[in-house]
């Protein structure tokens, strides 16, 4: 009818984007592209870095104690400065990347899966089951999470898997409550009712109509949680209940540099920068993903493609 005024005339003829089309969409968003490149570099460094580095970053060099950054005479690895035992910070950041990302990603994924699943049940089914889930959530939320972590880790011992599980449990309520609130709203929308009236099973209604609407919110939430979990893990490690030496994480590095903040700020600063950069990259990427997967918004990314045609 009045097709002339609708957006993205050329773009609309395109069916659901394939993998390659998604990559083309990523190219349209310069910030998201930069974020993706940065994350790939960090992950690669975490995977292949430690064996290649060998002793660099672990061996002490008392001549270079708390050496300030940007002094090329000391060699490339000392470019970001050195820590209290003269170990180059850049190398230590690369070594710490693997445990840091592993713990944070595992904890975020675990809490997301559990939280979203319970949130879907509480939101869609409601009733007594929903009430029980919500009250348990309230209990977890009202209990100080650090105290909970301390108790659990004291009893079970500070292994990495325990740290992941504890961090996941304390963050489940965030996903659960968000998911439940969204589901309550979405399930009363007409297209969900339309599916139910057509005879759709509960599984189909939830997986095809409700979950896809919740995913963008959850993706954004996960990126924020990623930073939170990294810092929470640092607090636990600081208290001696998290990652144990000789392993260390960015959070641990921030915590160790705390006592030198006045004299050698770079000890805490650089690992902190990496925590912030990873979080920000994830955030930019999730924002791009939200737009790219939403047919109503996708034209924003396709605009330039459309004008080429």
């Amino acid at each position: 009818m009045n097709s002339a005024v609708l957006p993205g005339e050329a773009a609309r003829r395109r069916p659901r984007p394939t993998k390659w089309a998604m990559l083309a969409l990523l190219r349209r968003d310069k910030f998201a592209l930069a974020a993706a490149v940065f994350l790939v570099v960090v992950v690669l460094a975490a995977l292949v870095g430690p064996p290649l580095l060998g002793g660099i970053g672990i061996d002490m060099d008392l001549m270079a104690r708390n050496a300030p950054p940007f002094e090329p005479d000391r060699g490339f690895w000392h470019i970001l400065g050195s820590d209290a035992l003269g170990r180059p910070i850049l190398a230590r950041i690369i070594i710490a990347a693997r445990p840091t990302l592993l713990i944070a990603a595992a904890a975020v994924l675990l809490s997301m899966v559990v939280g979203v699943l319970l949130g879907l049940i509480a939101g869609y089914k409601g009733g007594i089951v929903g009430d029980v889930i919500m009250r348990l959530t309230d209990i977890v939320m009202s209990f100080p999470s650090l105290l909970l972590a301390l108790v659990v880790l004291y009893i079970f011992g500070p292994a990495i898997t325990n740290v992941i599980i504890v961090l996941a449990i304390t963050r489940v309520p965030v996903y659960l409550r968000t998911t439940r609130a969204e589901v309550l709203e979405i399930r009363s929308r007409m297209f969900v009712v339309a599916a139910e009236v057509t005879g759709a099973s509960v599984f189909r209604t939830v997986s095809r109509h409700i979950l896809p609407m919740v995913v963008p919110t959850i993706a954004t939430l996960m990126t924020i949680e990623f930073a939170f979990v990294m810092l929470a893990e640092a607090s636990l490690s600081f208290l001696g209940l998290g990652v144990q030496a000789p392993d260390f994480t960015w959070g641990v590095m921030v915590a160790e540099g705390r006592s030198y903040l006045a004299t050698a700020w770079w000890l805490s600063f650089w690992p902190g920068v990496f925590i912030a950069l990873v979080t920000m990259s994830l955030n930019l990427l999730s924002n791009w993903l939200r737009i790219a997967t939403d047919p109503v918004q996708r034209w924003r990314l396709e605009r330039e493609v459309a004008s080429d045609e």
Partner: protein, 545 residues
């Protein structure tokens, strides 16, 4: 009339975005004199609200730009005012009321306080303001005005809220009142009373009125002059009687002929087969009660002893205003809620006892088209996925390899193109979306389609097209429709039999001709009379009476 109050000349407004320039209105001119009512008539997207918004300074810039034109009011050009000058005129000399009064009243303040605020901003003392607020509420005929000053917006009905909005708009005795679709969200009987009120206030104060509407009936009932807009341009203007009797522009003629309620009554032979039979349906809802009070919880009856039959191949119209229980009835028929008492039989079996296979079979045979096509289509699914979903749910109806062809065939049947299958709902207009919803309903070859206000959200000309499509599909597939609507003329054209509902009760039942030509129940009579009719002849008679 020689004197003009506001004269808009050659106004052009465009909205610039990265996607290009949309010319919302082009070279629009109109004027309004004191005591006169000018109607700006147009369908959605015609730009009918834009010129009034420009006059009020409500165009956001960017993206909006006023590229040409003047709006002369009292020797000044309203389009050139500064913010301070604007505040001196808006509300005081020119005021505006909107379609949705709930959105424009602040929910956290009592209505009396909000009216007083309007007065206080413009320098009326506190005590004086209180007195005036009460006077105003009495003037707009709000029942028990004195007791209700302290009530909050949610405690009023839609019509009462619109009265409160009107009270606020006329509080400072403006010269000009701009009403943007003031009655669109209201029931016909309420609409009639609000329009009467506006006319009366106008007679008392001699203010000019600009009424923006899509409803030709409203125009015929209240306006002196009318301008018809299409695609941002004025296509026709003049006295209402002249325009309606001798429309010059083809678009106006098309609009007038699309108005429902002009066709002869349908006479269809009733088939003996009863598809659905409702017996003594009752649905009670618990009201909020005081937990410390002993005794039964108070209940309200949304459905009160409703019984009817639906025969194969017929169209059963169900009419009622908001709160009449017609939506509850639809939900009960769809088995979305359980009735408190009574039963619904589908071909002799109670649908509430259906389980498993039998339930799926029932779901297959009864399909639904909802009011808002935007909300009833999943925005993240392509048209192909939406239309083929019923086949995914009911395995075995159509093998997956034939879905593509099946979807394309359905799209062609509802007047869309096969290549539309790869698009998404937001890329279609409202009427097209409703066609998609109809295609989805047809996918399972149902016997009954329940249309819950299926065309109420659409423009008149689109409405006529969708109704024509429904009729055609009925002929082709022998469908039975349950057509729930608040719009009487529409039901008159489309239904074979009509049920009239009021406060959960069925007050009258009969063939369409019986209901419209010889209504028996006083409520039916009121409903038919309140419905605005786009015929100035009829209007003249109405005014004499």
């Amino acid at each position: 009339m020689s004197e003009t109050l506001l004269e808009v000349r050659d106004l052009s407004v465009e909205f610039r975005s990265s996607r290009g320039i949309t010319r919302a209105v082009q070279n629009v001119s109109w004027s309004v004199a004191p005591g006169e009512t000018l109607a700006i008539l147009g369908e959605s997207g015609s730009g009918k609200s834009v010129s009034a918004n420009a006059v009020m300074g409500l165009i956001d810039s960017p993206p909006g730009h006023i590229t040409s034109g003047t709006a002369m009011y009292g020797g000044r050009d309203l389009l050139q005012l500064s913010g301070a000058q604007r505040r001196g005129i808006n509300g005081k000399s020119i005021s505006m009321i909107f379609q949705d009064p709930l959105a424009h009243l602040n929910p956290v303040y009592p209505v009396g306080w909000q009216i007083e605020e309007t007065l206080r901003i413009h320098g009326v003392s506190s005590g004086e303001a209180r007195k005036r607020a009460l006077e105003l509420l009495e003037q707009v005929k709000l029942p028990n005005a004195r007791q209700r000053l302290g009530d909050y917006p949610h405690q009023f009905s839609g019509g009462q809220r619109q009265r409160i909005m009107i009270a606020m708009a006329v509080a400072l005795r403006p010269d000009l009142l701009i009403a943007d679709e003031p009655t669109t969200a209201l029931d016909v009987t309420v609409q009639a009373r609000i329009l009467d009120l506006l006319k009366e206030l106008q007679r008392e104060s001699g203010m000019g009125m600009v009424l923006i509407t899509h409803d030709l009936g409203v125009v015929a009932q209240v306006a002196d002059r009318v301008v018809v807009m299409k695609d941002g341009q004025v296509v026709e203007g003049g006295a209402v009687g002249d325009v309606f009797r001798r429309p010059a522009h083809p678009y106006t003629r098309k609009l007038l002929s699309a108005v429902p309620g002009q066709e002869p009554f349908r006479h269809v032979e009733q088939k003996p087969e009863v598809l659905v039979e409702a017996k003594g349906l009752v649905k009670e809802y618990l009201l909020a009660s005081n937990p410390f009070k002993v005794g039964a919880t108070p209940t309200t009856r949304a459905l009160d002893d409703v019984s009817f039959k639906l025969h194969a191949g017929e169209t059963l119209g169900i009419v009622g205003e908001s709160g009449s229980g017609k939506t509850t009835l639809a939900r009960t028929l769809l088995r979305l809620t359980q009735p408190t008492a009574g039963e619904i039989a589908y071909k002799g079996t109670n649908v509430f006892s259906l389980r498993g296979r039998a339930l799926r079979e029932f779901r297959r045979k009864l399909q639904v088209v909802f009011q808002d096509p935007t909300a009833s289509l999943n925005p993240r699914m392509s048209i192909h996925e939406i239309v083929s979903e019923p086949w995914a749910i009911h395995a075995g109806v159509l093998p997956r390899a034939e879905w593509r062809a099946g979807v394309e065939d359905l799209l062609v049947q509802v007047g869309l193109k096969p290549e539309h299958a790869d698009r998404y709902p937001h890329q279609f207009s409202g009427g097209q979306r409703q066609r998609i919803a109809i295609a989805r309903a047809l996918a399972l070859q149902p016997e009954i389609i329940l249309c819950d206000e299926a065309v109420s959200a659409l423009d008149v000309s689109v409405q006529a097209q969708v109704i024509a499509l429904l009729k055609e599909l009925q002929k082709k597939h022998g469908l039975a429709y349950i057509f729930i609507a608040h719009d009487l003329p529409l039901v008159r054209d489309f239904a074979d039999r009509v049920l009239v509902m009021c406060k959960g009760k069925l007050v009258e039942e009969g063939t369409t001709e019986e209901i419209f030509a010889r209504p028996k129940d006083p409520y039916t009579v009121e409903l038919i009379n309140a419905s605005p009719h786009p015929d100035p002849e009829r209007l003249d008679r109405h005014e004499i009476a």
